[in-house]
Subunit: 347 residues, 4 copies
């Protein structure tokens, strides 16, 4: 068994990570740290885990983690992982950061978007941006530090990759209209998360390139395209707990049929266990509780437009499920281990 | 007092129309027809109106309507209004069709999108497309037959008009990503409206130009632009009862500042009582229960993109509130009469 | 016009009070105080009021209120009104406290339930418990200080009064199972109000007589019964914004028919403009946005049980609507003035 | 591997049963029948199962089921199972009816509550009412026909059993106030399930002993008490998909402390893997997706009242999870097999 530590275990991502890892056949969670609930039994903080999580939240102690863990997941607000990851790596531990600290390769970009200095250059270089379906599985197999992608970038990049790689879309035309459930904003209290503020509401925010996931999407797409591109990304909060849907708009560079595009998407992802190309447009409910990214395409012959819709569970494929997928690849486990039973509830 | 008849009073639009008209100081609702609940007291069908609607649903009887009403609103599935409007107009009645029968001027377009023949050519010609903020108030003042706009077109056209009229956007670039509450689909039972199917879900549908509101938007925008244009329109169902938000994406034809665009929008709508230009992006909750269309703009200097967000209550500005606004203009009442007290509840 | 001041105008009750008073034909709101948003235009804090509330939030200043207001509403956390009401009353102002400070007549009870000293004895004596349907309208007409009832007590007491007065129920048997929307807990941030914590959840809390509304219900019912009684009251939070439903369980002291009980309830409230006795069990949706209390009864002949269900909008009949009803009675206005247009939206 | 057939696989209970059985290590689902979707691949009807359910819906064919299945689950509207179960039993198959046909032992009671004749007397006698925690596990181990309990009875009976068995409550005093999610009403379309009708609503229904689960609760409690008793049961629909909470009210026959009652409940259920006695009152969110029944108790010393709250997932412990638990007992598998990984998602 591989021993696992979770730094920041009592936020929504941390606790969901714990739940999933408890069901993974090859790992044991030995340490969970928490600032808010140190000293408390985890199942008193989250009663849904009663009988399933005999663990006590602990204050972060790097030496203790090194002594008891082989792999460490970090689920902290940005800026924190960069400060603590060094000794873990030095001790030969593998680290997966679910936060944003190592996602942007360019330190100046990071500084500009996050308003504080980036992690050290060596760390940025060492970190692998862990979106497994982008042709990097061999790299992940050797990685020691993984920057787990953001939820919006995961859905946006996966919706674009086949079309972009095949060169069928105008790279100046990419529009991403994203709708996210509220859990994406975490458990921290804010007026935006108040039940009465978001129920019966739809809230666009940080439009016009103001959201930090914009450069993350652009970095990945530019790498695929082979040249720098910018995109139009607008997130919206909608009144659901979990789920994220991206509606992507492209212009085709030449006329293609619906079947052409479907075949392209099916072929590109033919061997990806967590991507399902759907005949109809996907819905967030179909992926809830799973690590799937469902993707549907529609060509509009009237406008020569291509609409691609991708749906994920923001907490799973958009966060901790993808982190476990990355861990599996890192540890040379089957990619789906511990994630394959996650068949969605319906309704 | 003006006497009013409502044909199709027990759907969600019909009953909301009745509620608003009961509060209008210059009209009396004298007849309400209903296929499903004929012979029933309206307040037994909709107990929220108890003490407020001493009316009995009646079978549609054109002669009776002619004898007792001055203005008739029609809230029926498409195809029905076209068949019954003739005698009402012949008898000198004013008619407002909340449905789709007279919206498309081109009979062939109608046939193609609605799969049955359009209304007679003379009626299509007579009908005024009643979006009052498009510079047609004088026309409305003389109208006898009004085609009340669809909910998606109302929000989409109002979001575009200032930019399109001013010629600042690439007319080949218009993308409309719409999110609508479930009441827009009406009270008719369908799996899509089942609580368990839409709660905790986001459902894109009729993408790639398949939705019937597409030609309605294109007809209005082409008229403003002075040339034919096509748009990319994708509706989504989100889990709220009321409210509709359109996020519109344009490419600016030349660099403009945020302030330039704000000023343009403010000036264009400076005298419109039901349009509010907001400093922040609008939210559907802020217009719930009102006839307002809130509009916010953001220029993205990185992409030379313009994002415009408009929010309406799909049942009010998107349906019956706009119908009353049209009635007011038709009858030379103050435009806001009976609509100004509709201050939204919050939360 | 009567000049109104609102102390604590930017919570959910305060802002809803402002919205309703703006539509009242005989009053003008001249002062609104707020701790959180002093110096801000109200419609920037609550954009739904844009064009409807040209007021700026001010720091609480008693002298200023005395100079500019005739009637003052107080919407503050408990303990605060008791400290500021004295000078207002001394200056001849009429005061309606929407909070709890003057509801319990017994100062020791108050101390026990609220964990701090009660208001001065003279104030407790002066205050009238403002549940207008309990036969106190003449008293309210002379009142200068009104303790506006809590939301749960309003629904519970109104559900019980006819049966209790008529002596048809075992006073040892009263059970109140209440389900409330989240707005009842206010705009203050807490984990309980977090969208992700209450959506798809039902949360019982402060059961077994631990909720502060218990003594308030008991005080009112004991007065009606003519002897001290205790009740079993359990509140539950359910995932809706507004609305409160109480299911009350009684044992009949002798066999009565459904019709007997319906007639009793109808007769008791025959002249009450805000109580509707319904044929079917009431639903919260039917009273949303209104000052109505809908009440339905069912006799269970198998158990000799009587089930009474009452539904209110917790923010209106459960708070500010009732406060305006009390103001109307205090000022000798028609009881329904400014409240009669509040026809509920449906859906 | 045991071969399983599901009759009625495409309703909400049927499809959830299929999902759970796909994860059970000792069984294979070989046949699924469906009236609505015969001939269709299951994962086209329910896309969340894509890649997880390579099964085609078939028309009900008893001979085919006999040929290919060892255990058959029936999930049909009441009245249907009684007609088809005979040949299955005759062929030596084990049958679990998730519907109501065999729950009431008294045929006259059944006829009265369900308005059509009960199953044959021999079948009623043969059927075991499958609430495993009521001391019947040895009987279940020999059973061939199981009547799986209703959702409301499951939560109500489990909340009552320890107190009733210990004789600490007045059996004339039992009140059950139940709140259920909408999935309990199934996938069949009705106005009650329309998103716009139940969102932002709370709907009491079939109060005063009109609900068919009343006699089911009474039958079980009478058996425990050793004498006939009647109860007051009122169900409410609340706006959530899944989850059921029962708030039960009793009168203690003599004064007991909170600790006394907690100990009683803990001891009674000490060896039950699916019952968790909670320190705080349970919430439906904590059991969502699991087979747990969480139970909390509170003694009210003021009233000598005992409030017991139980929470289940209506589709799992209230339906198909309990059915699998029964199957495990029937087949002498560990009771929790295939159900232990069902750790709830949170949020």
């Amino acid at each position: 068994m591989i021993n696992i530590g979770i730094i920041g275990a009592t936020g929504y991502t941390g606790i969901e990570l714990l739940r999933l890892l408890k069901q993974h056949p090859k790992v044991t969670v030995t340490r969970v740290t928490t600032e808010s609930y140190a000293g408390k039994k985890i199942d008193t903080v989250y009663p849904h885990l009663k009988n399933h999580a005999d663990l006590t939240g602990e204050i972060l102690n790097i030496d203790d983690l090194i002594a008891h863990c082989d792999v460490i997941f970090i689920s902290l607000p940005h800026g924190h992982a960069a400060k603590i990851v060094q000794p873990l790596l030095a001790a030969g531990k593998k680290v997966i950061d679910i936060g944003a600290d190592f996602r942007l390769k360019n330190a100046q970009d990071y500084q500009q978007w996050y308003q504080h200095p980036a992690a050290e250059a060596a760390l940025l270089k060492q970190a692998v941006y862990g979106l497994p379906e982008t042709g990097i599985k061999e790299t992940l197999a050797k990685a020691t530090l993984i920057a787990n992608p953001g939820c919006y970038p995961t859905a946006s990049i996966l919706a674009t990759l086949p079309a972009l790689k095949a060169g069928i879309i105008d790279t100046n035309s990419c529009v991403y209209d994203a709708k996210s459930g509220v859990s994406g904003a975490g458990r921290t209290l804010s007026l935006r998360n108040h039940f009465c503020e978001i129920t019966e509401n739809v809230v666009p925010y940080q439009a016009a390139g103001a959201h930090r996931h914009t450069p993350e999407i652009e970095q990945a797409l530019s790498a695929i395209a082979g040249h720098t591109l910018t995109v139009q990304f607008t997130p919206h909060l909608v009144p659901l707990i979990r789920g994220l849907l991206v509606t992507a708009y492209f212009k085709l560079t030449s006329p293609l049929s619906q079947q052409d595009v479907m075949t392209l998407y099916q072929n590109t992802y033919a061997h990806e266990p967590f991507i399902r190309i759907t005949d109809h447009l996907p819905e967030v409910k179909h992926v809830r509780g799973t690590n799937y990214c469902d993707i549907g395409c529609q060509v509009d012959t009237r406008t020569q437009g291509l609409i691609v819709v991708s749906a994920i569970d923001n907490l799973i494929k958009g966060a901790v499920g993808q982190a476990i997928q990355n861990m599996n690849l890192m540890l040379h486990f089957p990619e789906t281990l511990g994630l394959d039973h996650l068949c969605a509830q319906y309704p």
